[in-house]
């Protein structure tokens, strides 16, 4: 495999979990709900899906459980921030704190007796990269096709998520809710119900990102397997300017940066690793500054205007 092809392969693989969570969070934020609980939800998705796969041997069931757990955790956030009108930042952070602790706890209690009740260090079924035969040898195409099913999932998810948001009536309503819930309400959209729906949907996709780590990328459960990826996603949503179509670019840059800098180091090239690691965040800041200062741009691609604000119908 050529260098470019192998870089594309590793970058796609590294970016997959980020794409799921980024699109999930994009949908929640489009509905005006900022969910900072991503890190906790990803961890819970990872631990629950791995435990399920380990005991039942069924990867399908593992996915279903991850979706359920992610949906449930996002439901807590939805309840607090939509029904209780709580501060979304505080609620989201609580979800992360809770999810991180609880996932560790489960990882130490759900395992078999023979392993001291630990899930850590066990091997379960996994999604292996698909063997595409001769196609795998074709430059670039081989890198795109020789992936596991999760990565195939993002090939579908990205265009679908884009299409739904920009080309369907529901997508138009979703954007309206995020920009101006009162107008959406006047248009006859059930605002609260939609907010609930998209927040839960976002949580489900986020958990799927966590499941990708535990079932495919680094198969198995280890504590803090996400290593802060949930926080990277928060930056990624901004970086992609709330557009699922752009999520792929950001996820690949963020996901691929380590792969690239490790390769540069391994080949003996002297690059300051810390500098490369900083680049994606720098890019995020640039995007933030640009959409804050440049009004024309901000109108087109800025953050949803009602992001983070509870919607109270009776407000005058």
């Amino acid at each position: 495999m050529g260098l470019i092809t192998s870089l594309i392969a590793i970058t796609l693989r590294a970016g997959t979990s980020l794409v799921y969570a980024t699109i999930g969070e994009t949908y929640a934020e489009r509905a005006g709900i900022l969910n900072l609980g991503l890190e906790g939800i990803m961890l819970m998705g990872a631990v629950s899906s791995f435990a399920t796969a380990y005991y039942t041997g069924s990867l399908g069931l593992a996915i279903v459980v991850a979706l359920g757990v992610g949906g449930l955790m996002a439901l807590i956030h939805a309840f607090l921030s939509i029904t209780m009108k709580a501060n979304q930042v505080v609620s989201g952070l609580s979800i992360t704190l809770f999810g991180t602790g609880f996932a560790s706890f489960l990882g130490q209690r759900l395992g078999p007796e023979s392993n001291g009740r630990y899930l850590i260090g066990l091997t379960g079924p996994r999604f292996a990269p698909i063997d595409v035969g001769a196609l795998g040898k074709v430059p670039i195409l081989g890198a795109i096709l020789g992936q596991d099913l999760f990565t195939y999932g993002i090939y579908l998810l990205i265009p679908l998520a884009w299409f739904y948001l920009y080309r369907t009536k529901n997508g138009l309503w979703l954007r309206a809710i995020g920009e101006n819930p009162r107008t959406a309400d006047a248009m006859g959209v059930a605002v609260d119900r939609a907010k609930y729906g998209y927040t839960v949907f976002g949580g489900m996709l986020t958990a799927l990102g966590g499941a990708h780590l535990a079932l495919a990328y680094t198969p198995g459960w280890s504590e803090n397997i996400t290593g802060g990826r949930g926080w990277i996603v928060i930056a990624l949503v901004i970086f992609s300017m709330w557009n699922p179509g752009r999520a792929i670019t950001g996820a690949l840059i963020f996901g691929g940066i380590n792969a690239v800098q490790f390769r540069l180091q391994a080949s003996g090239t002297n690059v300051p690793a810390a500098f490369l690691n900083m680049l994606p965040y720098l890019a995020t800041i640039v995007v933030l500054v640009a959409i804050t200062w440049w009004e024309a741009l901000s109108k087109r691609v800025g953050s949803p205007a009602s992001l983070g604000q509870p919607y109270v119908r009776e407000d005058k």
Binding site: A86, L97, G101, N258, Q265
Partner: protein
Amino acid sequence: MKKTLSVFCVLIVALATFGCAKKAEPVAAPVAVEPYKVAFIYIGVPGDLGWTHEHDVGRLQIEAAFGDKVKTAYMENVPEGPDATRVIRQYAQDGYDMIIATSFGYMDPMVEVAAEFPKVKFIHCSGYKTSDNMSTYFGRIYQARYLAGIVAGKMTKTNIIGYPGAFPIPEVVRGINAFTLGARSVNPKVQVRVVWTNTWYDPVKEREAAVALLDAGADIITQHQDTVEPQKAAQERGMLSIGYDSDMRKFVGDTVLTSPVWNWGPYYVDTVRKGMDGTWKSEQYWEGLSADVVRLADFSPLVPQDVRDQVSVVKQKIVGGTWDVFTGPIKDNTGKLRVNEGAKMSDGELLSLDWLVEGVVGKVQ
């Protein structure tokens, strides 16, 4: 806002209950004499299969050696910093006789608490500060790394060995240098390629670093970090590896040729015994293969007999004290002679090592 706060408080309490639950061992049936109480502070969890796992094995050996006469407890996942101070102080207040903290960053918290509780014995791993009631201890794992390097040097076919390292600090640099010296003592063509991950613990990054090294042509992967992911990544590619911390062959399989491992049990048992009979004195303990505090784990069946024999010969020299790893001539990887022929590096030099030996591709940044 009140509502928000109360919800937040409930969640925090729930988190505290789940996340930081103190796991004291069940109290033994009442005995006439109060047991000697020993507490451990862990940076990770005993199930990490690496660093903390090995300390916990040592703790269990204390229990096995003294039975009812000793009671042990541990607290896991204690962050370095103010939390550590709180946890150490709590154990001291709860009447523990000896507190053992197993990560570098617990050093200053321990110094602080040790001054407040002169009767309690404080034992700190991998640091350098001591006081009348605080000891420091560590092992010369670099000796076992050198032996592992011999195995890798003999068994590599591409002459490239990949080495993901956590941080360019003396402890890690020492290991890389010893390993490289070992490998090149039997195969001068060997290159050890280092990739810094800048993390002790991140399964994803550790794996990515290993994969990058495999792509660069490495056919054996070793590491200085806390998870088994690099070893697993090598195995999936059909390549070999060398573990670290614990016998990783048990968790990954026979592609792990051997592992430099810690063996804290004898040191812990001895220290607790001295604490119990009143002969304990503050010390700086830094021993190696000869004291059995570090070891080379059993070989995988894939390691041929002549390699085992060669390792055994060198091991005898180190254990017998006739020779040590960092004996000159040693050049650094820019070609400069750093240690003259026949000279031996002092402990002080080893503890502040900041250059890589000839044969290492990488840089201490």
